[in-house]
Amino acid sequence: MSPLTETEMKRYSRQIVYPEIGLKGQEKLSRSWVAVLGIGGLGSIASLYLALAGVNLRLIDRDIVELNNLQRQILYREEDIGKPKATAAKENLQKWNSSIQIESFVEDFNPDNAEELIVGVDLVVDGTDNFEARYLLNDVCVKHGIPFMYSAAIGTRGMMSFIVPGETPCLTCLFTSPPRPGSLETCETAGVIGPSPGVMGVIEAAEAIKYLAGFGENLKNKLLIIDLTDNSFEVVRVKKNPGCNTCADRNFAFLSKKERTRYVVALCGRASYQVRPKKKLNLNLTELSHKLSRIPEIRVVRVSDEVAIMTYDGKEVTLFRSGRIILKGARDEKEAVSIASRFFTY
């Protein structure tokens, strides 16, 4: 007896018919868990195809849906603006496929929670937009032997590599260390057309399906470089570095960074700062916003169980239930902390 229900057999019939997948492959897919770290342009399309294929998902994202996301982040619609991405993505994906399990985490990915968020899944899809998060993911995955994909897109271009700890180069082998903040262009500064993260996200989903069902060849020991301007798809051979600080010496520098003291960070390319409490809170945002609305400089824009959006002195303030706060338009870290302190003590 197959563990698949009759409805599932029908739903997945077209990929079950595909000889490389078959019933066995579908059972594997339906048993698998994939973490999607960052559900933006890359993550929304990758998670959509994985959800449709019957894969269980763990969605992780720290942001809320904004109007400027809708041009490329296909999981979200106008009515999702202001909702946490992980929540909106789960809601929408579950409408596409109600038979899979989806966990959502409206959380910042940092050394304190990285292992907890990732360990236990079969594979991780990279949907992040920065190298700090990717290097932290690299540490977690190498440490625990979890395969993951590095993938990125900007403008008309994209890059990807399938990383299997022990078998392929890791991110440190490929790029050594994260480029200094500000040295790389971001989607905010350089722009992006929807199809670039779209193509990369689709390939990520294909890589994941092949890996989980156990057929085909993955982008292992290879770096895929694409440019839609001239439709170039090229593959560069990359090699493991025998002296690699991360995968050879098992020195997990990003994971062991004691970020607990660094609770305010600039969100690159967004003129935003994130401040998080030293200990995770569980705020009643409705009550809190009610109190805050009595302060003259504060205007409450919208409130839900998970997130409250307010303005303070013309700056947009997004407060999450965990106490994490994102400040748009703050001048520097100091100002960000000082504004955050108006909301509660950090």
């Binding site: 960052g38 342009g41 990279d126 790029f175 470089i225 990359v238």
Partner: protein, 99 residues
Amino acid sequence: MPVTVRFYLGIREVTGVKEITLDPEPRSVRELLLRLKEKFGEKFSELVLTPDSSNVRDNVVLMVNGHSIRLLKGLDTPLKSGDIVTSDVVEITETIGGG
């Protein structure tokens, strides 16, 4: 043996070509980049090298036979000049971070 140099993304915009071969092979990456500067002009160097020319830029990856030179000897990474069995492949690309 000649060395094959391949360019990708923004680097290719400046070189206008995907690939060239240099013969005779330069002895090091530093020498290779000097030869490429002669060929493609100052703009190439500006794109690839830090302002003090001590290393490749943060957003650039230069690989010799699949290994980033940051993990080898940087600009002093030798190329196998005179090796008649294998020829080196050097690849230069920008890094992409968005998502």
